[in-house]
């Protein structure tokens, strides 16, 4: 899933300064799971904005902060539901991931769409209140060679041929709070009886599949209409 976190409220308030009618739009999928931008969070953020504006004495009948949540901001079919509310606002504050913000900006041409979240990574909930990155979306998966643990996303240096000299006691040189991805890979390959596979020199990665110029596309010819 896509993991995001809310921007600091002060930054959001600066962003919407000058607009009178704000629509806060939550997203019901990934960011709901990571509790960054679902229905509940949209309601809380709208309230925080109202309170901040009230403190500044800015509330009047002409000023309005409303909220709405769609199932998925990144798909056209769900955005039609909020077209009227969007039309009635000066600016839309999206609580979707970066894809959601951009989908809304394309759908509602001429409307100011602002991001309320910082989109972080593809990952999973580790435990209550903790999400970690697992995949860098590099476009050329190596998990078959690394025991199902991604060195591109999880090694601070994205190394393909084993740990750097800074790995100690299972931790990364960057911080004692970061597991060394290569220690995890080593331990898993050892438990699988596949340590020998780590003796092979992996060639330079084909980053063309990651950053080949312009946005990447996935085309399924069999699905095209």
């Amino acid at each position: 899933m896509i993991v995001a976190e809310q921007k600091p409220v002060a930054e959001i308030l600066r962003m919407i300064d000058g607009y009178r009618r704000i629509l806060v739009v939550g997203c019901g999928t990934c960011v709901t799971v990571c509790m960054a931008g679902g229905e509940k969070e949209a309601g809380i953020l709208a309230s925080l904005i109202r309170m901040a504006w009230a403190r500044e004495g800015r509330l009047s009948p002409l000023i309005d902060v409303s909220e709405a949540t769609v199932e998925r901001q990144c798909e056209w079919e769900f955005l039609g539901d909020i077209a009227e509310k969007v039309a009635a606002s000066d600016a839309v504050l999206s609580m979707g991931c970066g894809a959601g913000v951009q989908a809304m900006a394309r759908m509602f041409e001429g409307k100011v769409v602002l991001p309320a979240l910082n989109t972080k990574f593809i990952g999973m909930p580790e435990r209550q209140g903790l999400w970690t990155e697992l995949c860098a979306g590099c476009g050329d998966c190596v998990l078959d060679r690394t025991g199902g643990i991604c060195p591109i996303a999880r090694c601070s240096k994205s190394l393909l041929n084993g740990p750097c000299g800074g790995s100690q006691n299972g931790k990364c040189e960057v911080s004692k709070d970061i597991d060394c991805a290569w220690q995890l890979i080593f331990d898993r390959m050892k438990s699988l009886g596949r340590l020998e596979a780590l003796g092979t020199v992996l060639p330079p990665k084909d980053w063309f599949k990651n950053r080949d110029g312009g946005p990447r596309k996935v085309v399924r010819e069999d699905m095209l209409l």
Binding site: N161, P163, G165, S167, Q168, D187, G199, L202, P204
Partner: protein, 310 residues
């Protein structure tokens, strides 16, 4: 001869090699490089010039290598994978070769979060093992990484680093073997304070027969104070420092002298270990002490070869 560098000649002759490390200044002041290089002249066979070590912006390794070469030293250009992609690296290797640089040390590089530009974007397009393979391909096959042929090849003596004190310990020799398979000619290790653990690592090296395929130079650091020794022990990733050495430094009436003594003792012990072909001296910000250590370790005079020797 793969490169004809002085370091390669020393090692090929079977002499116990001595290399030193020189950190370029955080400025364009060539005199800093000249002064440090002169301290090494006649005392080391080659001098490593670091590449923005600890991710702090410094004079480029290539430029400082060229200055050192102009003073008659044999420079080892350190190159990290942190700051350049494969295009920039190959371009720099060609440029370095054209400037007369004949040794390269291929490194992953310290993460940028340690340095003075922690918000920078790192590169890590290729890793140190892939870099070794790339330089070997340029030298031995006259080919760029993409397979295209080049007109004249950079003659480089290819070095790599090994850290016997990092984890997973068991995997360290496998990684060394990968570096040798990729084309490393010589290895310089992380600084040795923990000689017993280094010896255990060397036993694994012997088991794989790697000491017969690559020259291994053991790293040593002369430490000036008890504080510095404690820092090595507690704050430098991938370092093993026995408590006994910290105690010796704490109890010493003249810590600098004690640091030199520990360094010389370590060199003498390392020299006795089969498969250790030399030492790599890393006197961080204390280059002027190199002559004292080399002399007291009985490593003088350094061998001198004619231009066309070997």
């Amino acid at each position: 001869m793969r490169s004809g560098s002085n370091l390669e000649k020393v090692l090929a002759h079977g002499d116990f090699a001595v290399t030193g490390e020189l950190g370029p200044p955080q400025s364009n002041d060539r005199e800093v490089v000249v002064k440090k290089a002169k301290a090494y002249k006649g005392y080391v066979d080659a001098v490593n010039i670091t590449d923005n070590q600890t991710a702090i912006v410094r004079m480029s390794s290539i430029a400082a290598c060229a200055i050192a070469a102009g003073l008659g030293l044999d420079p080892v250009m350190q190159m990290t994978c942190r700051d350049r992609n494969r295009i920039a690296m190959q371009s720099d290797i060609l440029g370095a070769s054209a400037l007369g640089i004949k040794n390269i040390l291929c490194l992953t590089g310290d993460h940028q979060s340690f340095g003075n530009h922690p918000t920078s974007k790192n590169v890590y397009d290729i890793d140190s093992i892939q870099l070794i393979g790339m330089v070997k391909g340029m030298r031995d096959d006259k080919r760029f990484l993409n397979g295209e042929e080049m007109k004249s090849e950079p003659r480089m003596f290819i070095g790599a680093a090994a850290n016997p004190f990092a984890d997973p310990f068991e995997y360290r020799v496998v990684r060394l073997a990968k570096k040798v398979a990729a084309g490393a000619d010589f290895i310089q290790t992380q600084a040795v304070f923990d000689v017993p653990r280094f010896r255990r690592w060397m036993e694994m090296v012997w088991d794989h027969g790697l000491h017969e395929r690559v020259y291994i130079l053991a790293g040593v650091i002369p430490v000036k104070s008890a504080g510095a020794m404690r820092y090595m022990k507690n704050d430098v990733p991938g370092m093993s420092v026995p408590d006994e050495l910290v105690r010796r430094m704490e109890q010493a009436s003249d810590p600098k002298e004690e640091g030199i003594r520990i360094c010389v003792e370590t060199i003498l012990q390392l020299r006795e270990i089969e498969g250790v072909s030399g030492i790599h001296l890393m006197p961080i910000m204390w280059e002027s002490i190199a002559p004292v250590i080399v002399e007291r370790a009985g490593l003088l005079p350094r061998p001198v070869y004619d231009q066309d020797d070997m």
